[in-house]
């Protein structure tokens, strides 16, 4: 016999049996059990296999500090990987499997790894698999070392609610200290929220056989807190304390439901998180049956489960005696010894005996404690300092933020009476009482003792690994952690860190405080990533911008797609993308394209300093732009890189309209605002984003003039040259017509306020139809502009492109006024002769288009190696030209017209000739046709 259920006691409901399976065997537990407590009660000893050596492992802890019992759970047809058996409430019908064990936890084929342990010391992976290439070994190692198996199925409705909550005093932890503090604060009139991670508050109060009295006391405190207006959230863990008193608490809603996350910024936080046992380091201390003393009392007190029949206790902390009383009262035979490294656990798969001082004592369970470790993680998140307490042999809170108080065992106050006083003082902002004397003899690991002494059970780190790290000079705690992976497992070293530090301190001949601790970071316990996402998902994260004319596009059977955050027509008609794009390109060149250009950014610059402002913002000289005229230009970053391109229209001396890439409008707006306030008098220049208030219909092609004439916006289209602007009206409403072209054909952009957009669009389509013109989508437009060599910023430019790489060199050499990025255009980098410049690439008319992203390569050196000298940015089949067109950024490309180059892509090589970016109508005859 090993673990068993006792007749009475605990918080379980013995009238409600629950049936579940573990590794294929059927078991029974009760309502209120965790998976761990139910299996322990059923006599199960082996809960899984260790990460690296596949050693059999049992329960060490009874709650989140258990590093061993990690399980996969199948419930309701859904798999949940990597659940902690000790914190997962038992549910009827759960199918539980040990992870990292095949075929099951008891018979694990990879257990043979353990026989090879001498060859798998700390740092082994780093050293062994460096040559020739870690990536060759990685898949196999990951498969062998991985924990649970991820289900590829997406679980519907697994969404966290992320709420903002408020309280004056947040009490974290519902044990004796937490309940006392919450009650005192609530009765003093404060708004109190108490969170406790168990299904029922009470902390370690349930961990003794006087359970009934304790339960009555806990109930009385809960009632008093609620009566005084306080709130209590159970199953709720404070996962992190962040800057400026920000706390996030996660409420577990059970298997299959994402946690509810609450974010708070309380005026005060009282930390009453308790303490956990530190393991005793001795040979084979990882054998199933070796458990923390605190876990055994918790299993007994909370779940009515006795951990074993013949128990050896290795502990000398003062509370040991009470624990032993409780275990004996429940029917166990208990023998106590001082904790020592000289012990050896005996037993092949589970504990059978312990050897001490040359004698062997038969036992089925060894309960150990080298002292209590306060849970001060959240104190450290908040920036609180720690100090070493020699009497307690552990770190306790020292100086810290004045809005956080630590009380009870978390503060190293292990006496319940003192903890209650401390809690009341903290709740009422009174000075903390002194901690009181506590004497725990140090229990040091002996690195010279024989056998393997385990420190980090989840990551299989032994005392010898720490000694190896020490020999190889990985002596700083941060190096020790990364070299041995000590404390890097899912439990983040909750049990192992102090043992590891103590071992390293011993090896270095230092004290533990001299050795130091690693950083504590959120989350305190593992939580689903979903808890960070909540409603910040999909379209709620990035809402789609919708066009005013969307109903018109849908009526014309448009295929809608996302372009730069906007839902825009990709093409029209039901004949598929390829046919539609070809048809629309031909229509644009032979008659006219009617396009919705409303997504293009439109920003007005207004005020007496508007002219000097735009001249500073643009690379191109804009100071002499006359009223009614338009000029193309680049905006640069201060590093001289192309940030955006577009046209600037001058309405009058005090008013300009910037048009920018649709996906860039927000960034351009921020860029303009920055310079407006940094360099200009904000009272004399104002900027205003009108993108979403105006709609623009672009009509481009040989028949464009006829269509625009029919719209009735202008009396005459004579004396309206390319790159000019007219203010006018459309059916009585204000309108603007701009002659700019992104296709190379005669083109008019007609802009009206949204209310007139539908009438304008429908009229243009109606006039255009008999002329052979019609709607054209974004995909055909991108082909039309590529035929002309017009760039799309961010597609045909990259993070190194300067304007002179695109053939716009004049302002760099001639503009005298200051402008953004000016000085960067004369750096050594900017002056290099081998800069990548924009070119076209031509291939034979019957060939397929070159792949976008393919490299332009050249043979270099005597060894015949090839190197990339650039890459293809845009590439399409041009229906107009009847052959492919491509744009590329190629080193020295502008000086290499006509040169034949190799194009390399995915192991295939093709040939192309460098050409001008403009493949269609290079004379520009069509622009005024």
């Amino acid at each position: 016999m090993t673990g068993c259920r006792v007749e009475q006691g605990g918080l379980i409901d013995r009238t409600r049996a629950l049936s579940f399976s573990f590794d294929g065997m059927t078991y029974q537990g009760f309502e209120g059990d965790t998976i761990a407590s139910a299996l322990l009660a059923a006599g199960v000893r082996i809960f899984g296999r260790s990460f690296k050596y596949h050693r059999p492992r049992g329960l060490w802890g009874a709650w989140f500090d258990d590093p061993n019992a990690i399980v996969n759970i199948r419930l309701g047809g859904i798999d949940y990987p990597n659940c902690q058996a000790a914190t997962t409430c038992l549910t009827e019908g759960m199918q539980v499997r040990a992870v990292n064990a095949w075929p099951d936890a008891c018979r694990d084929v990879k257990g043979v790894l353990d026989l090879a342990h001498r060859f798998l010391p700390a740092g082994f992976y780093y050293k062994m698999f460096m040559w020739p290439d870690w990536h060759l070994f990685e898949p196999t190692i990951r498969k062998m070392a991985g924990f649970g198996i991820l289900s590829p199925d997406v679980q519907d409705g697994f969404q966290s609610a992320i709420l903002h909550d408020h309280c004056d005093t947040l009490v974290i932890g519902g044990g004796v200290a937490g309940l006392t503090a919450a009650r005192a604060a609530a009765e003093a009139g404060r708004s109190v929220l108490l969170v406790d991670d168990h299904p029922a508050p009470g902390g370690s109060l349930y961990c003794n056989q006087h359970g009934n009295d304790s339960q009555l006391w806990v109930k009385a405190q809960i009632a008093a807190i609620r009566t005084a207006g306080g709130r209590i959230l159970c199953n709720t863990t404070a996962v992190g304390v962040y800057d400026h008193q920000f706390v996030s608490v996660a409420t577990d809603r059970g298997m299959g439901h994402a946690p509810i996350v609450r974010k708070l910024r309380p005026a005060r936080i009282i930390l009453a998180t308790g303490a956990i046992d530190r393991p005793v380091t001795f040979a084979n201390n990882d054998r199933p049956g070796v458990m923390s003393l605190g876990a055994a009392t918790e299993f007994l007190g909370r779940y009515g489960v006795l951990a074993g029949q013949e128990i050896v206790v290795l502990s000398n902390r003062p509370e040991t005696y009470t624990a032993i009383e409780d275990l004996r009262a429940a029917g166990a035979a208990v023998t106590r010894f001082d904790p020592t490294s000289a012990a050896t656990a005996i037993g092949g798969r589970v504990v059978k005996a312990i050897r001490l001082d040359g004698r062997t004592y038969a036992c089925d369970t060894i309960l150990t404690s080298a002292g209590l470790t306060p849970l001060i993680h959240l104190w450290r998140h908040a920036g609180g300092k720690l100090e070493w307490d020699n009497g307690r042999q552990t770190f306790v809170p020292a100086d810290g933020p004045d809005w956080m108080r630590v009380v009870g065992a978390a503060n190293g106050t292990f006496s319940q009476e003192v903890a209650m006083t401390e809690a009341r003082h903290a709740a009422l902002d009174q000075p903390a009482p002194t901690r009181g004397v506590y004497h725990l003899p140090p229990s040091l690991a002996d690195p010279t003792a024989s056998g393997r002494q385990w420190i980090d059970l989840q990551h299989d780190v032994t005392l010898k690994d720490v000694a190896l790290a020490h020999r190889e000079n990985m002596v700083s705690v941060e190096h020790l952690k990364r070299y041995t992976t000590l404390g890097m497992a899912g439990d983040q070293g909750k049990t192992s860190n102090i043992s590891g530090l103590s071992a390293m301190a011993h090896l270095k001949g230092e004290t533990i405080p001299e050795t130091g601790t690693t950083t504590f970071r959120p989350p305190f316990v593992p939580i689903p990533l979903e808890a960070y996402r909540g409603a910040r998902r999909d379209r709620q994260m990035a809402p789609l911008k919708r066009l005013t004319l969307e109903p018109e596009h849908r009526a014309l059977d448009a295929a809608l797609g996302e372009y730069g955050g906007w839902l825009r027509p990709a093409w029209y008609g039901g004949d598929g993308e390829r046919a539609a794009v070809e048809r629309e390109c031909r229509m644009a060149r032979e008659a006219a394209a009617i396009m919705d250009a409303s997504a293009l950014g439109a920003i007005e610059v207004i005020g007496p300093d508007a002219r000097t402002f735009v001249n500073f913002i643009y690379y191109n000289t804009m100071s002499n732009l006359k009223s009614g005229r338009i000029r193309y230009g680049f905006m640069l970053t201060e590093a001289g890189l192309v940030f955006d391109d577009g046209v600037l229209a001058c309405i009058n001396d005090n008013r300009f309209v910037i048009s920018c890439s649709s996906s860039h409008a927000d960034a351009v707006m921020a860029h303009l605002e920055h310079w407006r306030q940094d360099r200009f008098d904000p009272m004399r220049v104002h900027i205003h984003d009108i993108t979403q208030n105006w709609s623009t219909v672009t009509i481009a092609g040989p028949k464009a003039k006829a269509i625009v004439a029919g719209l009735g916006v202008l009396d005459s289209l004579d004396d309206f040259p390319h790159m000019s602007l007219r203010l006018c009206t459309f059916e009585g409403a204000p309108a603007r017509v701009a002659r700019v072209s992104f296709t190379g054909d005669t083109s008019f952009e007609v802009s009206v306020q949204n209310i007139s957009a539908s009438a304008l669009w429908n009229k243009a389509v109606a006039i255009g139809a008999p002329l052979g013109a019609g709607p054209v989508g974004a995909e055909a437009l991108t082909v039309l502009r590529a035929e002309k060599g017009y760039i799309l910023a961010g597609k045909d430019t990259d993070g190194e492109t300067m304007p002179h790489d695109l053939g716009f060199a004049a302002p760099r050499l001639r503009k005298t006024a200051a402008f953004v990025g000016d000085r960067s255009l004369h750096s050594d980098t900017a002056n290099r002769a081998d800069r990548k410049s924009l070119v076209g690439l031509t291939v034979g008319p019957l060939e397929d288009p070159l792949p976008i992203g393919a490299h332009v390569v050249e043979t270099s050196g005597s060894d015949g190696g090839v190197k990339s000298i650039g890459y293809i940015t845009s590439s399409y089949h041009s229906p107009t030209l009847g052959q492919p067109v491509a744009l590329a950024l190629v080193s020295g490309g502008a000086e290499a017209m006509g040169k034949r180059v190799d194009i390399w892509h995915m192991g295939q090589t093709r040939f192309a000739a460098i050409a001008s970016p403009c493949a269609f109508d290079p004379e520009g005859a069509r622009i005024d046709a």
Binding site: Y242, D243, H244, F246, K263, R265, G383, E638, A639, A670, E673, H674, Q677, D678, R679, D681, P682, M683, T816, A817, A818, F819, D822, R823, S824, S827, D828
Partner: protein, 88 residues
């Protein structure tokens, strides 16, 4: 999540703000010769002090730039100040 006091809107969550740069990083007059070193320092060399730091931030919801003094170790905000010249 930090909270910053916008001089115009009051205390708001950190996510509403963008860092713009360290205070006092003056743009060289590029109509006059500027050495490579001076331009490099303007673009890339930052004090990044440990402790009290004077920085320019923008509150993206009201779009106003302002100066903030804060402690980069304790994350305490010492104060904020508007940049507008008095136009009265």
């Amino acid at each position: 999540m930090q909270q910053f006091p916008c001089p115009f809107c009051g205390l708001r969550d950190e996510r509403e703000f963008h860092f713009s740069g360290e205070a006092g990083n003056i743009r060289p007059d590029t109509t006059q010769p500027v050495s490579d070193a001076d331009w490099r320092d303007y673009l890339y060399t930052h004090e990044n002090p440990k402790g009290v730091s004077r920085e320019i931030w923008v509150h993206t919801t009201c779009q106003e730039y302002f100066m903030m003094e804060r402690d980069t170790v304790t994350m305490a905000v010492i104060g904020t100040q508007q940049m507008r010249r008095d136009t009265a």
